[in-house]
Symmetry: C2
Subunit: 305 residues, 2 copies
């Protein structure tokens, strides 16, 4: 089953060099999660042929324009497309007020319901709990309240070995086996779990950390995850500027990836001062080899093998 991140945009502040502002689409199995929504995110969704109505959950990290100004337009287009299904929107205090005011003055009553989930940037909370995954906030250190998001698949069940399992096995016993139990008749072991099942598929994880200063407080949350997107607005020679503007350097992002022992790092939220991005990638790779640039249109898959 897919676990795939698509970059829709990852430039910071202004849209230059044909780079769009922050937005990512995460597919986990059949659910699509939109993370941040810079201006023209709907244009990017159309460009990459992604149907808007697949998206049922939108997460907004903070209220700087380059992360949120595409949201009113996307919400409006969903309405004009006749969307019926409810939309869950996770964002900071103020977001709901802004959207409500815009809808008031455009005299628009949406064709669907928005459930607004207000985020608390002070402490980590589980904000979504589905059958197969959870989403938790990651408090970040930015100029204004800002949350990252940790997507984690729940532990999966063991998989039945169809070659060894007797065909007459009852559903009840299959459930026991999937849950890792042996099956007894009285005191007699009749189905030994390790013979009848394979280990479960891997539970995968992704964290989105933008915008933030370098902060090690996130390490426990991102420890050992499969995929980390961390902002890397500047090269490390701009470290002072990074601190001043509450951002991170490529070197720092790679340091966090290494310390957290993540499998793969994606860097993004590039400053508009960088026309060429390779130097940022090279800098990250000096510390953490498995680093990639968040180039829009690129996909990052995590296998469950």
């Amino acid at each position: 089953m897919p676990f795939e991140l698509k970059i829709l945009g990852s430039n910071s502040a202004t849209p230059v060099f044909n780079r769009h502002q922050s937005s990512q689409l995460l597919q986990i199995e059949n659910e699509y999660f939109l993370i941040d929504c810079g201006e023209a995110t709907q244009h990017q969704l159309i460009r990459f042929k992604i149907k808007f109505n697949k998206i049922n959950h939108i997460f907004i990290s903070h209220l700087h324009g380059d992360h949120v100004l595409g949201l009113p337009g996307l919400i409006s287009t969903m309405h004009l497309n006749g969307r019926q299904r409810e939309l869950h929107l996770y964002g900071p205090p103020g977001l709901n007020e802004i959207l409500t005011l815009q809808l008031k003055y455009s005299e628009t009553i949406l064709s669907y319901d928005i459930h607004f989930h207000e985020l608390d940037a002070k402490e980590s909370k589980t904000i979504l709990d589905l059958d197969n995954l959870t989403v938790q906030t990651i408090p970040l250190n930015h100029r204004i309240d800002c949350c990252g998001f940790l997507f984690k698949e729940k532990p999966k069940k063991r998989r039945i070995n169809k070659e060894t399992l007797p065909p007459e096995t009852s559903l009840l016993n299959i459930i026991k086996l999937k849950n890792g139990e042996d099956v007894y008749e009285g005191e007699k072991l009749v189905l030994k779990n390790e013979e009848m099942t394979f280990p479960p598929r891997k539970s995968r994880s992704f964290a989105y950390c933008s915008d933030t200063r370098y902060t090690e407080t996130i390490l426990p949350m991102i420890k050992d995850i499969d995929l980390l997107y961390h902002e890397s607005t500047f090269l490390d020679d701009m470290k002072e500027r990074a601190i001043e503007t509450f951002h991170t350097t490529a070197l720092e992002a790679a340091t966090l990836a290494k310390k957290a022992n993540v499998k793969r790092l994606i860097i993004g939220h590039f400053s508009s001062r960088y026309k060429e991005l390779e130097p940022l990638l090279e800098e990250a790779k000096t510390v953490f080899t498995n680093s990639s640039l968040a180039i829009e249109g690129n996909n990052f898959s995590v296998s469950d093998d």
Copy 2:
């Protein structure tokens, strides 16, 4: 001196078929006027290599998203580019409140002042009066309050004929001649205006009318103008739908152009149902030959000869 309209976007409602939402840039001499600002207008300005800081006046017709959602991002980018010069913003009640709320939650204090001019959609008013031109509102008939805009150059001065004017003529007398007066010494006619000057250059005019139902109340204002942009959301076989949604058909826009005796008509604000736009143009041309489609990137110049 230039009088040139550039189409930045003219699709209605949603951005499809690579067509952007409403925005136009009008250059009159050295001033640049932005009219409406759909989402991703700043992307279009960058694409067409237009420097943001040339724009000192932005006009917003109404608060439907496809005409205004690019404004917060543009304002923010002007700020991030370090703009100092004040910006004049003309828009409906509510626009200032929305922008103020967005700036509050992003904790942004702009590097420049915005002068907000609140528009009254009920009656025509002169909202800008410069040395060389005026801008007046055109009350339209839309679902929510909506204004069009009429840009008119003021009458120009007569031009000196350097071949006939004696070189010793005083500045005072040159001013008299430019103002159309003859010059006397005592009672003696010494400089006859029609021999010393050419007629003034033409005063040019442009009207932007979007969004609106067909309404003849605009005819007196757009009479004899050089260039009319009028919305033409639908073909005339969708006339009922046009009335219902407070829009105009291509045939109706052309009828207004003909009745007002304008020189040239541009139709736009195309419904997302039309992938091909030629049928809209053909329909308009059956009534008014000098019609054109508002294709983004296209320029429409008016000569002063």
